[in-house]
Subunit: 153 residues, 2 copies
């Protein structure tokens, strides 16, 4: 694991997020966790991932504070992996990926799973990036303010 701390000192929040969840499986594990998976075997069957890889990913996500190991959940003495508040805050990320995939990765008539409002079974509203005053903004309306880069080299 040489890449563990690769962007730990990068002042860009995107880089640090990618550092935490930016590999192939982590995001899918988190998606399954949002979807209700809690046990090792559930993740394994849902993802079809090798057990050692899943084991390593779950451990990394626990270390990252995204998942927590609960000693037991449904009576049986096995352990469950549940999202921490930090993990739950990834909800917009997963929703954004989902909406992008829905829009761009499916044929118009191709069926796909959907994320629905539990209250009325209707799909969610599209995520919108808003300015402080509520005005919707696109990439061109924003500017990245870089940190002044302390004593770096």
């Amino acid at each position: 694991m040489v890449k563990r701390t690769r962007f730990d000192d990068n002042p860009c929040p995107v880089a640090r997020s990618v550092d935490a969840i930016g590999d192939w499986w982590s995001l899918l594990i988190i998606r399954d966790a949002f979807d209700g998976s809690r046990r090792f075997g559930e993740f394994q069957r849902s993802l079809g991932v090798a057990k050692n890889i899943l084991s390593a990913r779950l451990r990394a996500l626990v270390e990252a504070g995204i998942l927590a190991v609960e000693p037991a959940s449904d009576g049986s003495a096995y352990q469950a992996y549940v999202l921490t508040p930090k993990g739950e805050d990834l909800f917009p990320v997963v929703v954004a990926l989902r909406q992008w995939g829905e829009r761009h990765s499916f044929e118009p008539d191709e069926p796909h799973s959907e994320l629905l409002d539990r209250r009325d079974d209707r799909p969610l509203r599209e995520l919108a990036v808003l300015a402080a005053d509520g005005r919707p903004v696109g990439p061109a309306d924003t500017v990245v303010h870089k940190v002044p880069e302390p004593e770096r080299a």
Copy 2:
């Protein structure tokens, strides 16, 4: 490249999105593209990635329709990599990752780069997942409606 089409037939949009952009570098390349990088060397210096990896990633992103190669941009006969509309639609994904990283991956007093509204230099509003009626919803308020899985086996 055995993983290229790994989730191509997966009916979950999140999986397909991860298939397209879910590796270490792609998202950072896209972030840099939003930030104004266009040329090979710009990406390379900004990311510190090996040139062959960058080359492969850029090619994959172009194949995925996220970036496009423009024959020239600033006069000199070199080529530029620019976001397509499909790539620009990743803006909420990048913003979501950025906001999550800002909240969870920095010490309270630690400086980091910021994404500001160009109009008034103020930070953006937090992304919110909204139901069709505008009510904000969290993970527990939603349910994934799985596709009935056609003739699969």
